[in-house]
Symmetry: C2
Subunit: 148 residues, 2 copies
């Protein structure tokens, strides 16, 4: 299988597949006489697995550390450990998101539920003062992504 077909079958681009090879995520593959890469059927599975792991929140570096040379021989303990840590990471992030959401809803409420006897400027000051009194959180990259 040439790289174009592998790209088609895995849903990745050829440049991405070559990139993965360059950074050592994919081991160097056989070449035909003309220099073209020639992939075994298993490559589709490997690429699918990489995409899957990425979707679950693993970086390419992490994936490289976990992906075995042979798809049938995994380092169970390292793998289960990494999966377990990722679950914990997700839980941490979920807790943050829950707090962020509650904060945002509170601000929306404070803006919309302003009593008639308080003018906008005063209400703005009030909200600002309360907001800046609480401890701040660090940015969460994924919330700024155009698409997720």
């Amino acid at each position: 299988m040439k790289i174009g077909e592998l790209a088609h079958r895995s849903g990745l681009t050829p440049s991405r597949i070559r990139f993965y090879e360059r950074i050592g995520l994919l081991k160097a593959v056989d070449r035909k006489a003309n220099g073209y890469r020639s992939y075994p059927a298993e490559a589709v599975t490997i690429l699918g697995l990489i995409a899957l792991a990425q979707g679950a929140g693993f970086s390419l570096d992490e994936i490289r550390g976990l992906l075995p040379a042979d798809l049938e021989h995994w380092e169970h303990d390292a793998l289960v450990g990494a999966l377990t840590r990722k679950v914990a990471d997700i839980e941490t992030l979920q807790a943050r998101l829950t707090r962020s959401k509650a904060h945002l809803l509170q601000v929306i409420d404070e803006i919309e539920a302003r009593p008639d006897d308080i003018d906008c400027a005063t209400n703005a000051r009030r909200v600002l003062t309360r907001l800046l009194g609480e401890d701040a959180e660090m940015p969460v990259a994924s919330l700024r992504a155009k698409q997720f």
Copy 2:
């Protein structure tokens, strides 16, 4: 107030404050005769607000579009709209994280609960086949962050 003191009081670095000015997030500030920036007390509030908004998931671009020239005169509708959209974004991300977590836990279980009459390689094939049959998710940047 010079930039060093503002940095100290806001918890940001001077370079970051200058950077915010350069990209138009902070309007150009008064200068002393020697060229040093001279900030009003309000600047601490503005920077605190920017950091807060970042923590809630807003990009600097988004923040620039929402921050008013005068902290007491906000564009209520645009602001409430943006806050509401951000809440929706958070909910979308939370749903994804919940699915990811469930997937990870299922994989952990399939690895650990392998029946004694099935060998590792067979179990690996079984898990892989099931995994790659499901529809994949796109990467979530925040799960790969070193710190969050």
